[in-house]
């Protein structure tokens, strides 16, 4: 089960400004999915190591040689608001 307040909190963490209707729908849907997921509690995981990755790889490195990267122009070519060779964004402070 997940409460409406928790859904709003998670939406803030996720940077999603959900509509009221979406919050209602997601409260029901996430609760139902979590009910299924809660069955994982039935599995004995005592002393089991977590798997984050299936390949037995460690420290894959290449030689530290400088090489060209994307040109600034190219990197900015898809930006919604490029300005003076940078990505321009609105102010972090809401205008009063």
């Amino acid at each position: 089960m997940i409460e409406r307040e928790q859904v709003l909190h998670v939406a803030r963490l996720s940077r999603l400004r959900l509509s009221d209707e979406e919050v209602d729908t997601l409260t029901g849907e996430l609760s139902s999915v979590l009910d299924h997921v809660d069955k994982l509690a039935e599995v004995d995981i005592e002393g089991v190591e977590p798997t984050s990755h299936v390949l037995p790889l460690e420290n894959v490195l290449r030689t530290d040689e400088p090489r060209p990267s994307l040109e600034r122009e190219v990197a900015l070519s898809q930006a919604p608001d490029p300005h003076d060779g940078a990505f321009r964004v609105p102010s972090p402070q809401a205008e009063a």
Binding site: L16, R17, V33, H36, E49, T51, V54, V74, S77, Q78
Partner: protein, 485 residues
């Protein structure tokens, strides 16, 4: 050469026809471009023009001149790439995915970019922001997903073969629904560079083809270590076209405990038929247990959304893609993401963020990672006894559009046989096992048969699949003409 002959030829056969001078590469390309132009399945989100397609395919390679369709999750320099999301509407990547560079270097012109579930999240292709894709066997039904467009264009005769990606079944399930072959290689066999990330510990590129030989040829082109992806290792010794005709001495494990509830009668019947075929070819059928595989969907729907919520945090309206609102920075982030993502993507971001959030991390993410270890161990134990693990690819045949959209969990269960294999990171293939009526009646539809093998044993998997495919003798020609108007 007559159009019907071009349409009926597999990728390997087309390459042979070009090499023998029976048809020119230009003729082949013009034929497939005109098929793609008449797409009635909404299989393509973007189609190449004759000039751009020709540029893509360098001449001289063994598969030179055989065009290919590319899932719209692969970045293609100068060609729009959306992952079927509004948030990437109009995005034109400044670089190309390694897999696409490799098919181009092998001489394969790109026909277009195929439809998919948004960010590869879905099992029906209904989560595309650009409209559902239709199954060429019955246009009232889904092609499966998330590589639904790639499966539909191959089965419906709109491309000789295609690239897809598989995170929890996204190549195998649509291949099964559309009556074609779909191969998910071992995690690490193929570079993920330039493949838009969904769940990075699971995502893997693979081929969707008319037959097993084509899958082998494409896998050989695609596999290999790539310095742009530190998790790519390639397949030692490479991959050769299969020649096996028998299965003598090979053992096939059937996890009976997993194949129970929710499986359609017709699907089960074709599965049992296929087990008989295996025995006829000299293979041995053994009952096995995968005690934790029944928990795979639950573990997957913690792990994959957790990874997705992290990967998709990059879509913030700053560097590329959609930007909504210029009010203040936080509003820009929140409104861009609210407007840009579809319902299933939001659901998974929310689920993943919740599972990773303070106070819930150990209970959800940490626990799911340990259950994943249990599932890996299940397969290790199984492969100590058998060469392969076999299941139906999906519990049902292709379902109707809209049939499973009301309840997310019902849709997720479509991947009950494919997800355990994804969590274990091992290779698996879906080959057509015949046709079956859906429960409740109606025209017959394709059924997929899934074969899984230990990590990096793709050659063995391909040989066995080839022998079985020859014995089954599936005929997919009924759907082949219907993809085009």
């Amino acid at each position: 050469m007559a159009d019907m002959q071009l349409l009926a030829a597999s990728g390997a056969e087309t390459a042979a026809q070009i090499a023998a001078g029976e048809v020119s590469a230009d003729e082949v390309l013009d034929f497939w471009l005109s098929r793609a132009a008449n797409d009635r399945l909404n299989g393509y989100l973007w189609k190449s023009g004759p000039e751009s397609a020709r540029e893509g395919g360098a001449p001289g390679g063994p598969l030179s001149g055989v065009p290919i369709a590319i899932k719209d999750i692969f970045c293609t320099e100068g060609v729009p790439t959306t992952a079927a999301s509004r948030i990437l509407g109009g995005y034109v990547p400044p670089y190309t995915a390694t897999s696409v560079s490799k098919t181009a270097a092998a001489g394969m012109p790109m026909l277009g970019k195929t439809n998919m579930d948004e960010f590869a999240m879905g099992s029906s292709n209904e989560n595309s922001a650009y409209g559902a894709c239709l199954n060429p066997w019955d246009t009232e039904r889904v092609p499966g997903g998330s590589s639904g467009g790639s499966a539909a264009v191959v089965a419906g005769g709109l491309a000789p073969w295609a690239l897809g990606t598989d995170t929890g079944g996204s190549i195998r399930q649509p291949a099964g629904f559309c009556g074609i072959v779909g191969l998910k290689p071992t995690y690490g066999a193929i570079s993920r560079y330039g493949m838009i990330a969904f769940a990075s510990s699971l995502d893997q590129c693979g081929p969707l083809t008319r037959n097993v030989t084509d899958a082998a040829l494409l896998l050989e082109v695609l596999q290999g270590r790539d310095e742009m992806d530190t998790t790519s290792v390639g397949i030692e010794g490479g991959i050769k076209a299969p020649t096996a005709e028998r299965l003598d001495g090979m053992t096939f494990g059937v996890p009976r405990g997993l194949i129970g509830e929710g499986i359609e009668a017709g699907v089960l019947a074709r599965f049992e038929d296929t087990l008989i075929r295996i025995a006829e070819l000299g293979g041995e059928i053994v009952d096995i247990e995968l005690p934790h595989a029944g928990h795979a969907i639950s573990a997957y729907y913690v792990l994959a959304p957790a990874e997705a919520s992290t990967n998709l945090s990059r879509y913030d309206g700053v560097r590329y893609g959609l930007r909504s609102s210029d009010e203040d920075l936080l509003s820009m982030y929140e409104l861009t993401r609210e407007e840009g993502f579809g319902p299933e993507v939001k659901r998974r971001i929310m689920l993943g963020t919740y599972a990773l959030s303070s106070g819930y991390y150990d209970a959800y993410y940490g626990r799911a990672q340990k259950v994943r270890t249990r599932i890996v161990e299940d397969f290790d134990s199984a492969f100590a006894k058998v060469d392969f693990v076999v299941t139906p690819t999906s519990p049902t045949v292709a379902f109707r559009l809209g049939e499973k959209t009301a309840d997310p969990w019902t849709m997720y269960l479509s991947d009950v046989f494919t997800v355990p294999i994804s969590l274990a990171g091992i290779p698996a293939i879906s080959i057509p096992a015949g046709l079956a009526e859906p429960d409740g009646g109606g025209p017959e539809l394709p059924v997929g048969f899934q074969i899984a093998a230990p990590a990096f044993s793709e050659q063995k998997l391909i040989e066995a699949s080839h022998a079985l495919e020859q014995a089954i003798g599936f005929d997919g020609s009924a759907a082949l003409e219907g993809g085009a108007r």
